[in-house]
């Protein structure tokens, strides 16, 4: 009871430790994922990004192999965003597509998968737009629109789609999208979004010479002004300037351009500055300037392309570098492991050889010991049974030679004959036993050899196959057991009859021995070496033996063992 309580306590402690370590592990994993998310978001250096990428890619593979698809998708999303930031547009596209395919496995559409799907489509749309592949971009925005998005997502998607159409100069289609976006943004009641939709609507209308163009752009500007949303305000100014440049109203155009220039300088934003100056050049309408601008755009486009491919190469190179390092580490680990296994193998081999020799020598020792024991037993027997008789005879001859040598020395001869018979019995008790088909004859011969003119041995006839199911070993042991019993009978019992009956019940062999001798007392029994031998032999064949001891009423033994 005490032990079980202690072991239970131990189990509890063990379990708690296990749980704790497990939790700590989970905690650690989450922490490092967040760490890399943050590292990616802060975008310190390219190395950080690559580190984050590497980590996320490993995590993603892990998630997938663990069947944690949702986390894999989240990680893929992060990877796609990082790749886009690194200008690895094609890679980002592939990653997003892969994430989308994983998303398709989810039949149910809960908020998490929907958000992920929208985010991914948006990412791909942006990539295509940057690559100038507007048709593909539109397809992905359509994916968002048809996929039951939230109102905000819907409006954003419409805006993005409209922008793609606008860039393609498909102003009518753009107008359609912007109109819907605008009316929905009013329902959404998000001023920033309303302003964006209305501004876009305005510039598109401007291209189509729609009368509401100016009003819409001005309304959007007013909203943005009220929000003090500088990026929005400058966009509005640029659109208004463009509107007037298109209509060749230079005064109005330069009015808005100057305002835009002011903000751009204030924000010190080179992108805005570039946009403002570009429009200013358009306004000046100098053919040389315009040509310069066109060439410049071409150069920067080339530069951009070159930078893209360079970024991709750089990325691949860095990645390969890191991979090589990792492979080195793995190889090193494998090598250590290999050496470890080799050592283990060698150790086991040595252990095996040692134990083999130890066992062998032990076996040899035991065998020798056994031989010594047997030899000691035999020599003791010879001394006890023969030596004593010889000594007895010798002392008789010394003390009374005349009477012994009477009648042609018949007394001496009889004594010697007894000794001879004993010697022969010892030899017989150690001889080989026939355990084959003639085992019954062997047993009968044994019984016969212990019978005499004054002692009859009775047995029952048995069927020819009586001994067939009994193993050789058990037959041998049984023979020795009977030998001991009969020796005992002949030496001590003074019986005129001894019966040995063999019967079989199912698989049990039963042997009943009985004689009509003087019987055995408990003290005799303890002193009798032969009978204790019988007990140990019975043990060896997993049998049992019962002695019936009544002084002056014969001796009965029952032996049972399984054939």
């Amino acid at each position: 009871m005490k032990i079980s309580a202690v072991s239970f306590l131990f189990y509890c402690v063990f379990f708690c430790c296990f749980l704790k370590s497990n939790m700590a592990l989970a905690q650690q994993q989450k922490d490092s994922t967040r760490y890399y998310y943050e590292l990616a978001n802060n975008k310190k250096t390219n190395v950080d990004l690559i580190k984050s990428l590497n980590y996320l890619e490993i995590k993603e593979a892990e998630n997938l192999s663990n069947g944690d698809t949702l986390n894999a998708i989240q990680n893929l999303r992060m990877i796609a965003i990082i790749q886009k930031d690194m200008r690895l547009l094609n890679k980002s596209e592939n990653t997003s597509v892969k994430a989308l395919q994983l998303l398709d496995q989810f039949q149910t559409k809960d908020s998490i998968t929907k958000a992920a799907r929208t985010g991914l489509n948006n990412n791909i749309g942006k990539i295509y737009r940057e690559l100038g592949e507007y048709e593909k971009a539109i397809k992905h925005y359509d994916n968002i629109i048809t996929n039951d998005p939230s109102l905000k997502e819907y409006v954003t998607a419409l805006n993005n789609k409209g922008f793609a159409l606008y860039e393609q100069q498909k102003y009518h289609l753009a107008l359609e999208n912007y109109t819907i976006a605008h009316s929905n943004s009013l329902i959404l009641n998000d001023k920033k979004i309303i302003a964006r939709a209305q501004d876009n609507l305005g510039i598109t209308q401007s291209k189509l010479n729609n009368d509401f163009a100016f009003i819409n752009m001005i309304s959007a500007l007013k909203i943005r002004d009220s929000l003090k949303f500088k990026n929005g305000i400058i966009t509005s100014y640029l659109h208004l300037a463009e509107h007037f440049i298109d209509r060749n109203e230079r005064g109005n155009a330069s009015f808005y351009l100057e305002k835009a220039h002011l903000i751009a300088n204030e924000a010190d934003n080179i992108n805005f500055k570039e946009a403002v100056l570009s429009l200013k050049m358009d306004l000046k309408n100098d053919p040389e300037l315009l040509e310069y601008k066109k060439i410049n755009e071409e150069i920067s486009a080339n530069e951009k392309r070159r930078r893209n491919s360079f970024a991709a190469d750089q990325y691949d190179f860095n990645k390969a570098l890191i991979k090589v390092k990792e492979i080195d580490i793995i190889a090193e680990k494998a090598k250590t492991k290999n050496i470890y296994y080799q050592f283990l193998g060698a150790f086991l081999l040595i252990l095996f050889i040692f134990s083999y020799f130890i066992l062998k020598s032990k076996y040899k020792k035991e065998k020798l010991q056994e031989i010594h024991n047997t030899e000691a037993h035999i020599s003791k027997k010879i001394h006890d049974e023969l030596g004593n008789d010889v000594f007895y005879l010798m002392s008789q001859i010394q003390s009374n030679p005349e009477s012994l040598l009477n009648n042609k020395g018949v007394k001496v001869l009889n004594g010697l004959n007894n000794i001879y018979n004993k010697a022969r019995d010892i030899s017989k008790s150690l001889s080989k036993i026939e355990t084959g088909n003639s085992y019954p004859d062997e047993l009968t011969a044994l019984l016969n050899s212990y019978g005499s003119d004054v002692t009859k041995i009775v047995t029952n006839q048995i069927t020819p196959d009586f001994w067939k199911t009994v193993s050789k070993y058990k037959k041998e042991e049984l023979y020795r057991i009977l030998q001991e019993l009969l020796t005992n009978m002949k030496k001590h019992s003074e019986a005129t009859f001894a019966a040995v009956l063999f019967t079989k019940k199912q698989n049990k062999v039963i042997i009943n021995y009985a004689d009509n001798g003087i019987g055995v007392t408990k003290n005799d029994f303890k002193l009798n070496n032969g009978l204790s031998n019988v007990e140990s032999r019975i043990d060896a064949i997993n049998g049992n033996i019962t002695f019936e001891m009544k002084p002056n009423d014969g001796f009965k033994v029952e032996i049972r063992f399984t054939a």
Partner: protein, 222 residues
């Protein structure tokens, strides 16, 4: 018939001496001996080749194993081999071995002429055996005969057991006969039942049937 040339195959020096002495006593001049089976076999073979064969072989069964045995290690093997090359040689087995099986196989299968067990009267019995074999008679010493006949062992068969059981139950011979008839067990005549009972009384050294029943009951036979 007396023998002029006898071979003794025996590994024990003192027994060789005794046997040789006995044979000389009987007037055999040419007594040779061998302590190894294969050596004895070669001697017989050589004598046969010299056209002066042995007439009698006195042979032990157990030999101390030796490097000269050449695959022949027991008296049985030796006698079998010799009988093959010289079928008319007389063989007397002289041994401590008194197992029924072995005596039987030597007399019946190997067909030796005499079997004598060593012991107190060993040489006397050997003398008798030599005389008997000389008159072309087979001989087994009393000890071997006892072993052969197993007369110290009484084997009760199922019929006798049943008979004893029925007698013990108090049935008269006529009733037993009727009972056996009803069970279709033969022999079942009163006469044969009486014969069996008398044989059983003899076997158990019992003067009367009650004494017999007392004995078999005490021994747990019924």
């Amino acid at each position: 018939m007396t023998y002029s040339k006898v071979l003794v195959a025996e590994d024990n020096d003192s027994i060789i001496k005794g046997v040789v002495l006995k044979l000389r006593e009987l007037g055999v001049d040419n007594v040779q001996h061998s302590q190894f089976c294969y050596d004895a076999f070669l001697k017989v073979k050589k004598a046969l080749k010299d056209k002066n064969p042995y007439q009698l072989l006195v042979c032990d069964l157990l030999f101390t194993p030796s490097s000269k045995s050449n695959g022949m290690s027991s008296g049985q093997e030796l006698i079998t081999a010799i009988k093959k090359i010289q079928p008319d040689i007389k063989v007397i087995v002289f041994t401590v071995e008194d197992k029924q099986l072995i005596i039987k196989s030597l007399l019946k299968d190997i067909k030796v002429e005499a079997y004598v067990c060593k012991g107190l009267d060993g040489l006397k019995e050997l003398d008798k055996a030599i005389q008997a074999v000389g008159k072309n008679q087979d001989y087994t010493c009393p000890k071997a005969t006892a072993a052969l006949n197993q007369k110290n062992v009484v084997q009760l068969d199922a019929y006798e057991k049943q008979l004893l059981q029925l007698v013990a139950n108090g049935l008269k011979h006529q009733e037993i006969s009727d009972h056996l008839k009803s069970k279709n067990i033969s022999p079942n005549s009163v006469r044969s039942i009486e014969d069996h009972m008398s044989k059983l009384r003899d076997n158990f050294n019992a003067a009367t049937t009650p004494q017999l029943i007392f004995l078999v009951h005490n021994l747990g036979l019924i």
